[in-house]
Amino acid sequence: MLVSSKLKYPRGDLAVWAFIYAELLVFSLFFVGYAFARMLHPAEFAAGQQTLNPVLGLVNTVFLLTSGWLVAAAVLACESGSRSLALKKLVVATLLGLAFLAVKGYEIGHHFAVGYDLDTNTFHFLYLFMGSFHFMHVVLGAGVLVILAVKVNRGDYSNGELRGLESGAAYWHMVDIVWMILFPLVYLMR
């Protein structure tokens, strides 16, 4: 019987890790597909990129990274027994996740409003689909953060058994890692 989850690697639930790897696999197939499509249609992709707003992307990067950092810090805080600190960090992390959703939601809505859709061309399909697919993962992840916050508040992790919290944190981290590839790949690479 393991006393502390510190002794275990990877931290969190193995099943959640398998799930995370499967998610990464889906996204990586899209990234590889994007690379090939860009190679085949460089002009279309260059023109498509001009229609995006990298500043909004950057703002969102800051939101997600800060949020990811706060969740990791919340796990550490919970481990060292400061429950209220962990709760505060989780709440702010969730709010940053929601801020990301607001910005991204505006961005996608605007993109449709100016007349692009999934069927415009390969670039716009990939931008919209990958963005929306990632968006749904942020929605799920933010939902997980809310559940974690409720559980931290209830003191569910006070006995040193942090696997649930660590699993949720790992999932949230997956969401920002994917964004860290998606953002430069789609918005910035020239």
Partner: protein, 460 residues
């Protein structure tokens, strides 16, 4: 058998096996018609034989799933079935409706059947796999609803386990998706679009939930591994099945008139569809390795491991072969599709039903946990004959498919029927493998009937 009401599974399993034999007989008839064009013409034209072959497959699998649910739900829920009488009524209604439909297919031209059954009032006929008259479809809905009500009440009133909750979810999904068979828009693209909601979202969606729960049940029973471990695997398998399977529907939308982006969505998500099947394979072998007991029903354990492996090969590997749009552009609707269809249905769904029957049968016959050695050995022979038969059917059809793709789609100088003639040798070999398959199937049934209690067998 812990609960008396589990016995109601028996007629379902018997009907499933009877219809399975009929399905394979029609398969052999069609196989022969590939190379002997007017065999049994005009009594059984190819299109009728094909319709009977595929419809019987669906019906016997449904009988198998229903039998399985009636058998395992009381045990999982730890209470008797809500109503044995209802289970018997649904059995007879389903059997009679199914039999009448098949008789209808064989007794009259399809157009006449449509006329007789009033298809013009609510047209749903004439679509592959869903050829049954509207009235039969309504019958299926009534039967499935009554069945889900019966087992649903049993679960709600009893213990809820991950196994029975996932099984019910799968069965409810099966019922809901079937409703799209009543939607028949006149726009051909939309018609096909929603047709796949039944066909694809059954076999690459909700049926996977049914398969996973049945496999988990048999593995829990035969290996004695903790439920906690099994439950985690189940969640993972179900999550992956739905994540990949739902958007994976897109791999049917490449060339039917839907927007181009389906080529991306379909290719990427369906490329990952082997994952849940791969997980089931690892799951089965892992559980057997970690077993806490050696279950005396060795045949059932063999079937459980077999279904996991064959589902991965048939659905996973053979599906992946032609699921990417740039490849499917050449392979669409060739014998390669038939190869995949045969091994996937056998590995994932025929074998899981044979697994649960193999596990439940000694209990239903009052033989305890396992049948005598002799009938188990016979059953294992049936396993190998059917499985090897199916592997060869798949390989011969794959050979035929690759040549067909080359001659018809890449070279493209010859016509369809000329090419089919050149493939005759593969079709003859496939017919041979099919004969081995039916011998295996008959042995399975013989083993079911000659089975004795282990003690009685020793005494004699």
């Amino acid at each position: 058998m812990k609960y008396a009401s589990q016995a109601v599974a028996k007629p379902y399993f018997l009907a499933a096996m009877g219809l399975f034999v009929a399905q394979i007989l029609f398969g052999l008839i069609m196989g022969l018609q590939y190379v002997w064009g007017d065999f049994l013409f005009p009594q059984i034209p190819f299109n009728t034989a094909r319709m009977v072959h595929t419809n019987l497959l669906i019906v016997w699998l449904l009988f198998g799933f229903m039998g399985a649910a009636h058998y395992l739900i009381p045990e999982e829920a730890q209470r008797e079935l809500y109503s044995v009488k209802l289970a018997k009524i649904t059995f007879w209604v389903f059997l009679i409706a199914g039999a009448l439909t098949i008789v209808g297919y064989l007794a009259m031209p399809y157009a006449r059947l449509a006329e007789v059954t009033g298809n013009s009032l609510w047209p749903t006929m004439g679509r592959e796999f869903l050829e049954m008259p509207t009235i039969t479809k309504i019958g299926i809905v009534v039967v499935i609803l009554a069945f889900i009500f019966n087992i649903g009440i049993t679960v709600l009133a009893g213990r809820k386990t991950v196994v029975n909750v996932i099984l019910i979810t799968g069965l409810v999904g099966l019922a809901v998706m079937f409703l799209f068979s009543f939607y028949n828009p006149s726009n051909l693209v939309l018609d096909k679009f929603f047709w796949w909601w039944v066909v694809h979202l059954w076999v690459e969606g909700v049926w996977e939930l049914i398969m996973a729960s049945l496999l988990a049940y048999v593995l829990i029973k035969t290996t004695g591994v903790d439920r906690e471990v099994v439950d985690k695997w189940l969640y993972l398998i179900v999550a992956m099945a739905l994540i990949t399977g739902i958007l994976g529907t897109g791999h049917h939308y490449f060339w039917i008139g839907t927007p181009n982006y389906w080529q991306w969505v379909g290719s990427i998500f369906s490329a990952l569809e082997p994952i849940p099947f791969f997980l089931m394979t690892i799951f089965a072998f892992n559980m057997v390795n970690k077993r806490r007991r050696d279950h005396p029903n060795k045949a059932a354990v063999l079937w459980a491991m077999g279904t996991a492996v064959m589902a991965f090969l048939g659905a996973g590997v053979w599906g992946f072969l032609h699921t990417l749009a740039p490849i499917n552009y050449y392979t669409h609707g060739t014998q390669l599709t038939a190869a995949h269809g045969h091994m996937a249905f056998y590995g994932a769904y025929a074998m899981i039903v044979l697994t649960i029957i193999s596990y439940a049968w000694p209990h239903l016959r009052g033989h305890g946990e396992a049948n005598d050695q002799r009938s188990q050995v016979l059953e294992m022979w049936s396993f190998w004959l059917m499985t090897v038969g199916m592997v060869f059917i798949t390989l011969f059809l794959t050979g035929a498919g690759i040549l067909q793709i080359w001659m018809q789609r890449i070279d493209g100088t010859e016509t369809f029927m000329v090419i089919q003639d050149k493939l005759a040798v593969f079709y003859w070999l496939r017919e041979g493998a099919g004969t081995v398959f039916i011998i295996g199937l008959l042995l399975y049934i013989v083993a079911m009937f000659i089975a004795k209690k282990p003690a009685e067998a020793e005494a004699s």
